[in-house]
């Protein structure tokens, strides 16, 4: 493999990490900050993608589509927070898992009901559809560069929100002891509704951005949900920084594992079994990464005790 190709693959790994971060950010916000396991986060991602596809279909505008994704996912988030999630904060993780699992069923089949069983069309805007040439002669899709930029901006904004603002402090206080923060005069329910909607909106945005280069279909949220969980567990729950680092690690491992492992096994095996075994191991690689991280740091890289 040439060095240029390797650099390109590293870039790809970073980019796929950032894509994951978009999803993981909202999840870690809800999951870390409110102590809620939200399996339905993938459904919000799907809602965003479908809203974007529908609006892009009607209007032809990608910007409007992104706006629709944000709005639809935030609205969906707000509604499920007020109707369902709100009753789950002081329940244990199990009830949360079951209730949000049920939400997945409702969302998936509901979406299929409205939009049919076939994948929808959503494409990147024409202005961003081609590649740009990076230093070193690397051709890189410009849309992916945009995703990187948006991802980094969101990381920064969230970090500020949680670590620095008073709202962030109140949210975290509520996670430690909801009853107490209420007894001190903070309306934590309203705060949580807002945060949940924000997390949902991020998922929706991720769904729309990613949906333009992937497939917009029912069930699209589930694989990425699991990956996002892996990311925030590696990074440490509740830590935006952890989510970013975790996402990059997972992106790199996944991308480079798929590329390098078959090559590695090819050094001492016949090519066809090297491909099979290498790829088999590559598909397990992020889980191996996660297990390793947790063995040495049982609360993730940036997780508090």
């Amino acid at each position: 493999m040439t060095p240029i190709l390797l650099i390109e693959q590293v870039l790809n790994g970073l980019q796929s990490g950032i894509t994951l971060f978009l999803m993981a950010a909202g999840l870690t916000l809800i999951f870390g900050v409110m102590g809620l396991i939200n399996l339905a986060h993938g459904s919000l991602y799907m809602v965003g993608a479908f809203a974007a596809a529908a609006v892009a279909g009607w209007t032809g505008s990608f910007v409007l589509a992104l706006g629709a994704a944000l709005a639809a996912a935030a609205a969906a988030g707000m509604i499920i927070e007020m109707v369902v999630i709100r009753r789950l904060y002081d329940r244990d993780h199990l009830d949360q898992v079951l209730a949000t699992f049920a939400l997945i069923l409702i969302f998936s089949e509901g979406t299929r009901w409205v939009f049919g069983s076939f994948p929808l069309y959503l494409d990147v805007p024409a202005a961003l559809s081609g590649p740009v040439t990076l230093p070193g002669g690397i051709l890189y899709p410009s849309y992916r560069l945009l995703i990187i930029v948006i991802g980094l901006l969101i990381a920064l904004g969230l970090f500020q929100l949680i670590a620095r603002t008073r709202i962030g402090i109140q949210i975290r206080a509520g996670e430690s002891d909801r009853e107490m923060i209420a007894a001190l005069g903070v309306d934590i329910s309203r705060l949580y509704t807002i945060v949940f909607a924000l997390g949902a909106a991020l998922a929706g945005l991720a769904g729309a951005l990613v949906g333009a280069i992937q497939s917009v279909q029912v069930g699209m949220g589930e694989p990425v949900l699991i990956l996002a969980f892996v990311v925030i567990v590696i990074g440490g729950i509740g830590s935006i920084k952890g989510a970013l680092v975790g996402a990059l690690l997972v992106g790199l491992t996944d991308t480079l594992g798929g590329v390098l492992l078959p090559l590695l096994f090819g050094l001492f095996m016949d090519p066809s079994s090297a491909t099979t075994i290498g790829s088999a191991l590559a598909s397990m690689s992020i889980y191996i990464l996660m297990a390793l991280v947790l063995l040495f740091r049982p609360t993730g890289l940036y997780g508090g005790a």
Binding site: M1, T2, L5, E8, Q9, N12, G13, Q15, S16, T19, S108, E109, R112, G116, S117, F118, P119, L120, Y121, D123, V124, S129, G130, P131, L139, P141, Y143, R144, V210, A212, I213, Q214, S215, V216, Q217, V218, G219, M220, P223, V224, T255, L256, G258, V259, P262, P271, S272, T275, T276, S279, A280, A282, S283
Partner: protein, 359 residues
């Protein structure tokens, strides 16, 4: 028989979840053919794309519904779970999709008829077409699971040029940046891939954005009508092999396409065509023999005395199709991105496993 002169058909297919589109097409095609006929009594159940549910439903169909014939399964792994035990219990099974090699070779059964294709067929035809069309260096890509590996093996079986590289991705992968970079860096002139469902959509969209300029080929599964709608213009120019296309000029096909559109308001897919043919086959046999006389009914099915929307259709000794396989190209007709036949890739194609089939 016990169903008042009717034949009772149990259809187990995928009607919920992400893979529902295929099952719905098979079902709708089948029902379209059966419409207006009172010969069939059809029970339909959703397998959720889970093998254990499919097995359970097959038991239900056989034990409680007492069906005569089973059909409907979309996925190879579900077929592997259901077919051997269904035929062991003396039920006919007509496959409207999926043809795992085990059921074409050693595991074949007199009661099992494949009305779609043996899994390798489209790939073998793809290899043959490449030989005749100046394709020399091919980059292969498929998910790392049996259907993917079998497919690539099928292509390699007939292709005579050079395989530059083979990449097996994770099943369900959605980001192909790394693979595209590898393809770009390789000196292949053509990418040949099999990525079912959403995987193929993702790959094609990302491929279009990457600016890499190479031929793209694959089996029809990644370029079927339901999928083309989601890929859009990014798929234009892709060559894909199939036994059917909506513009195929054989008797009955245009009528089928029209009737399907009238009935369901969308273009039929090849799965719909397979479902349609399956019902036609079944009804053709009913006119000739009683399902309770297994040998006679089996012989009647084997005759394949129906007008397939694919044109000539016959069964080989292992009850798998002998049929033409065409090369299609993705084109734009008006506003619709769709497939157009550009030639025959393999004529009277049948699979290589028949030799192992003893029945």
């Amino acid at each position: 028989d016990g169903h008042g002169g009717k034949l009772k058909v149990g259809m187990i297919t995928t009607l919920s979840g992400g893979g529902a589109g295929l099952g719905i097409d098979v079902r709708d095609g089948f029902l379209l053919a059966a419409k207006g006929s009172d010969m069939l009594d059809i029970v339909i159940e959703d397998d959720q794309q889970k093998p254990d549910i499919a097995v359970q439903l097959a038991d239900k169909m056989i034990q409680s519904e007492k069906v005569d014939v089973l059909t409907g399964i979309i996925w190879s792994n579900l077929a592997m779970a259901v077919v051997p035990s269904a035929t062991a219990q003396g039920k006919f099974y007509l496959s409207p999709n999926a043809g795992p090699s085990a059921l074409a070779g050693q595991g074949c059964s007199p009661l099992y008829f494949n009305v779609a294709w043996q899994n390798d067929a489209f790939y073998e035809a793809g290899g043959l077409w490449a030989n005749d069309n100046d394709i020399e260096k091919v980059f292969l890509m498929a998910p790392n699971y049996p259907a993917g590996i079998d497919g690539m093996t099928g292509f390699k079986r007939t292709f005579e040029g050079e395989i530059v590289n083979e990449v097996y991705t994770k099943l369900g992968q959605t980001d192909y940046a790394a693979e595209i970079a590898q393809i770009r860096a390789s000196d292949a002139d053509t990418v040949y891939f099999f990525l079912p469902g959403g995987m193929g959509i993702s790959f094609m969209k990302q491929w279009a954005g990457s600016g890499v300029d190479k031929n793209v080929m694959g089996p029809a599964f990644s370029f079927d009508q339901g999928i083309l709608g989601a890929i859009g213009e990014a798929a234009l120019g892709v060559k894909n092999t199939a036994h059917w296309a909506k513009d195929l000029d054989v008797p009955g096909n245009a009528e089928f396409v029209q009737a399907f559109q009238d009935e369901y308001g969308r273009l039929p897919s090849l799965y719909a065509a397979q479902g349609y043919d399956t019902a036609l086959l079944l009804m053709s046999a009913m006119g000739k023999a009683d399902v309770n006389d297994q040998d006679a009914f089996q012989a009647a099915l084997k005759e394949a005395d129906f007008q397939s929307v694919r044109g000539d259709f016959a069964f080989a000794d292992n009850h798998h199709p002998i049929q033409d396989i065409y090369m299609r190209e993705v084109v734009k007709e008006g506003d619709v991105v769709t497939n157009k036949i550009i030639g025959v890739a393999a004529s009277d194609h049948s699979d290589v496993y028949g030799a192992e089939c003893k029945m």
